[in-house]
């Protein structure tokens, strides 16, 4: 905290090359990490009461659930990565009419529960005599539900990184495509990968949509083991094995990228200049960015249009109460999740001890477990200690969405050259100063995006809320599911639309400050530089 005097007085003279480990930070990481891993440990305990892992089978369908899950992960990853990167680039770096609105709208698909989308699609299909189901549809529905992660993370990265490089591209007459493929994309690749990883984890934990669409996946096999066959330890063991597979996948992806790391030396000194799009390019950009939000909003609306008579009158007071509960829970959970994720991400960067690195990486894994199984872990913790259900629920949210918040923060820090930290330390900045004066300002954009994603995810979260909430404490998502699972779609639709509205409100509150983030601060340097080129 203490500023060094302008002279040559180091706080730790002689230790410059390696600053001491910031142990309060290490302690905080340990605390957050252990809290995050506690439910997984409780699950491990349950699994150990069952048969040996060697006895694990996936049932008579053999490897089909595994193959289906992998196909889904691959399909959703490719589709989400492609559309997400494309829309992230278009909304962050190109100029066309309606861009700001369309940027906000990219969040809509994330705010639409995928089981509801699947349910409405199946229902619409079955009225017109068409069967909707199978892997293809599952990829489409889940891809739509998860591509927003890639859009938001990549568009943030596109606006943050490489603005100057792009000006160089322009001066060298490299066109928009060249600048996208050769400069912007490689720089934003970690963010794209983080978004795809979140999508993949969500695919692994999804149960509702794939079940409705008739695709037997690992999560379905896990739940059948528990609820159909009554083999709880076996189910939990299978969930933990899945978790290890996901962890390996994520780890190998990170290793693969390690060789091609690109660093930026701090904040770019230029505002991102937008590529103006004209003519058919403009139309195409509008079409591509409009299609996914239109689908996720349009399918339920088409359903409502064709079934106007089935929309039951819902007491407004009830909806307001549901909405307020959802809002309060989501705000609380988002704040806590951001703090926890910051501690982990910054701790990972500043504390080199192996244990801390491992904790920081492992803490987000809860996201890859089916929510129903994770809820069980929390019931084990809470039941024994008599914890208040609400406390348990918020803890659950933070645990589940830690990965979502951490994804953006980690990639942003990953893109910051280590030399920046070293420079700061050599100038006598202790770790608190480094965090406060360099890292936090740089993480503003990623924090906004993380907050938005966690908020929307919490509002629509179902399995934990369903299993852990206290008496008389329904939320919007709970109500949607209760009706939808009872095949009363009309009644499910109204609370689902309120979820979308909450998502849009959050997006319109946070996204504009993402847009203004750079120009505000860097108008002058940019003017100076443009004279250079």
């Amino acid at each position: 905290m203490s500023k060094p005097s302008p002279g040559l007085s180091w706080p730790w003279s002689g230790q410059l090359p390696s600053a001491p480990e910031p142990w309060p930070l290490a302690l905080a990481v340990a605390l957050v990490g252990l809290l995050a891993l506690a439910p997984l440990a409780a699950l491990g305990l349950v699994a150990s009461q069952g048969q040996a892992l060697a006895g694990l089978q996936l049932g008579d369908q053999g490897l089909a659930p595994l193959a289906n899950t992998l196909t889904l992960v691959l399909g959703v990853g490719c589709a989400g990565g492609l559309i997400g990167t494309c829309n992230g680039w278009l909304t962050a770096r190109c100029q066309f009419p309606g861009r700001r609105w369309l940027r906000l709208a990219q969040l809509l698909p994330l705010a639409t529960p995928s089981y509801l989308l699947a349910g409405t699609l199946i229902d619409l299909g079955s009225r017109s005599g068409y069967r909707i189901g199978g892997l293809g549809w599952a990829i489409a529905v889940l891809g739509l539900g998860t591509y927003s992660y890639v859009v938001l993370l990549s568009s943030e990265a596109f606006s943050r990184t490489g603005a100057r490089q792009q000006e160089v591209c322009r001066s060298l007459a490299v066109g928009p495509w060249g600048s996208f493929l050769r400069v912007a994309l490689p720089l934003a690749l970690p963010a794209v990968a983080a978004g795809m990883a979140l999508g993949a984890m969500e695919v692994v934990n999804d149960f509702g949509a794939v079940q409705l669409l008739g695709v037997p996946t690992l999560s379905a096999a896990i739940l059948e083991r528990w609820q159909g066959e009554g083999d709880l330890p076996g189910a939990v063991a299978l969930a933990l094995v899945t978790l290890v597979l996901v962890a390996l996948l994520l780890w190998s992806e990170r290793q693969g990228r390690r060789r091609s790391r690109l660093w930026a030396a701090g904040q770019e000194g230029a505002s991102p200049e937008l590529w103006p799009l004209q003519g058919w390019r403009c139309w195409l950009a509008q079409l591509v960015t409009l299609a996914p939000p239109l689908a996720s909003l349009g399918i339920p609306l088409v359903w409502a249009w064709t079934s106007w008579n089935q929309l039951p009158a819902q007491p407004a007071g009830d909806l307001v109460a549901l909405g307020l509960r959802s809002l309060a829970l989501a705000l609380g959970a988002t704040g806590l999740t951001l703090v926890a994720a910051l501690v982990l991400s910054i701790g990972k960067r500043l504390v080199k001890a192996n244990g801390v690195q491992l904790l920081a990486d492992g803490a987000g894994l809860g996201y890859a477990i089916p929510g129903t199984v994770l809820a069980l872990g929390f019931l084990l913790l809470g039941g024994g200690w008599g914890l208040a259900p609400l406390l348990l629920l918020v803890w659950g949210y933070v645990d589940r969405f830690l990965a979502v918040a951490k994804g953006g923060l980690d990639t942003a820090l990953e893109g910051l050259a280590p030399s920046v930290d070293e420079a700061a330390q050599s100038l006598g900045c202790d770790w608190v100063g480094l965090v406060r004066r360099i890292q936090l300002p740089l993480l503003r954009g990623p924090l906004l995006v993380a907050g938005l994603l966690v908020f929307v995810d919490t509002v629509k979260e179902l399995p934990l809320t369903f299993a852990l909430r206290p008496f008389d404490f329904d939320t919007l998502a709970v109500r949607v599911y209760q009706y939808a699972s009872d095949e009363r779609l009309g009644a499910a639709l109204v609370p689902a639309l309120v979820i979308q509205v909450l998502g849009l409100l959050a997006a319109s509150a946070l996204m504009p400050s993402l847009d203004q983030e750079l120009p505000d601060r860097t108008d002058q340097p940019k003017a100076a530089q443009s004279t250079v080129s």
Partner: protein, 318 residues
């Protein structure tokens, strides 16, 4: 606080029909006992109750499906209730022999036929669905449906393992279309002629016949013919007092109210279900005709649920 505790009870319910709440309000008005409600998935509720142990705030557990009630009882989550009223109102086959739970409503899994494609007359029992003549015409919901699981459990009890296996195998080889994940799309597929015959719960059909999903669905449902197999498989929703209920007397009062003709009627009519005895006042249900129940107790069904799932899995029921 102590005062409030005396006059309120906690209910964990696996039923989620908003209309149930009206009934709880009615109960509160009548007795002065407040009902705190938590609706969630049956299996999660069982697990929650198990983990909460003595700390549980729940006094009453309401579950859908016989097997789940039986599971809750076998995990020692419910306590026996002594009640002359319950003995009177709940038939023997619809309650636990040790008094730990009682049934509250009944639903029947029936054969639904599109008469334009399949003749209903030759179908008399569930066994007839294995007839190779129905190949390509039979449509089924997947095996995750507890209603299908309980149906198979009933056939294991009636026919024995070997014959039940042959039956399931015969049926699954008649199925050429992907399995459905819910009942209503299956009923629509029957109505539109994609399928000729299927298995559904009575209340889903009743909802469509009642026009709850629009006139098109009503018209389509009217084309279909209900066949009550002889004997018919009856499943229940039911309730019991939790092992560590803070207020077991008040809990018993609620269960007695729900099982009484007045309360039971409300619970059943909310979702087009049959009351514990007779056919109720629901005109649509009455229009479907009468059935002869197989008389198997929910307790027996529950005890064979796990075997049923394994048998379905082994014989190709996806």
């Amino acid at each position: 606080m102590g005062h409030a505790e005396e006059t309120s009870i906690g209910v964990y319910s696996g039923r989620h029909y908003n209309s149930d709440q009206k009934l709880y309000k009615q109960f509160s008005a009548k007795t002065g006992i407040q009902v705190k409600l938590l609706e969630a998935k049956d299996d999660s509720l069982i697990e929650r109750l198990r983990q909460e142990g003595k700390n549980t705030p729940a006094d009453v557990l309401v579950l859908v499906d016989a097997a789940r009630l039986e599971r809750a009882a076998s995990l020692d989550l419910l306590q026996p209730a002594r009640s002359a009223a319950l003995l009177r109102t709940v038939p023997l086959s619809l309650r636990d022999s040790k008094g730990r739970w009682v049934g509250l409503t009944r639903r029947v899994r029936v054969v639904l036929v599109n008469p334009a494609l399949v003749k209903a007359a030759p179908i008399r029992t569930y066994g007839d669905l294995a007839n190779p003549a129905l190949k390509g015409k039979l449509c089924l919901r997947d095996r995750k449906s507890v209603y299908n699981q309980s149906l198979v459990a009933s056939q294991i009890l009636i026919r024995g393992d070997a014959q039940a296996s042959r039956w399931v195998k015969g049926m699954t080889s008649n199925v050429t279309q992907p399995y459905f994940s819910s009942d209503i799309p299956l009923i629509r597929a029957l109505g539109s002629g994609q399928c000729g015959v299927g298995l559904v719960n009575t209340y889903y059909l009743a909802r469509l016949l009642n026009g709850e999903s629009g006139p098109a669905d009503r018209a389509l449902a009217r084309k279909l013919q209900v066949v009550f197999p002889k004997p018919a498989h009856v499943n229940i929703s039911g309730a019991g007092i939790t092992r560590y209920a803070k207020n077991p007397q008040a809990a018993l009062k609620l269960i007695e109210f729900l099982a009484s003709p007045v309360g039971g009627k409300g619970y059943a009519e909310a979702n087009h279900e049959y009351p514990l005895k007779g056919y109720g006042d629901d005109a649509i249900l009455k229009g479907m005709g009468r059935f002869q129940a197989d008389g198997l107790s929910a307790e027996q069904l529950g005890s064979r649920n796990r075997d049923a799932v394994k048998l379905m899995e082994a014989n190709g029921w996806l």
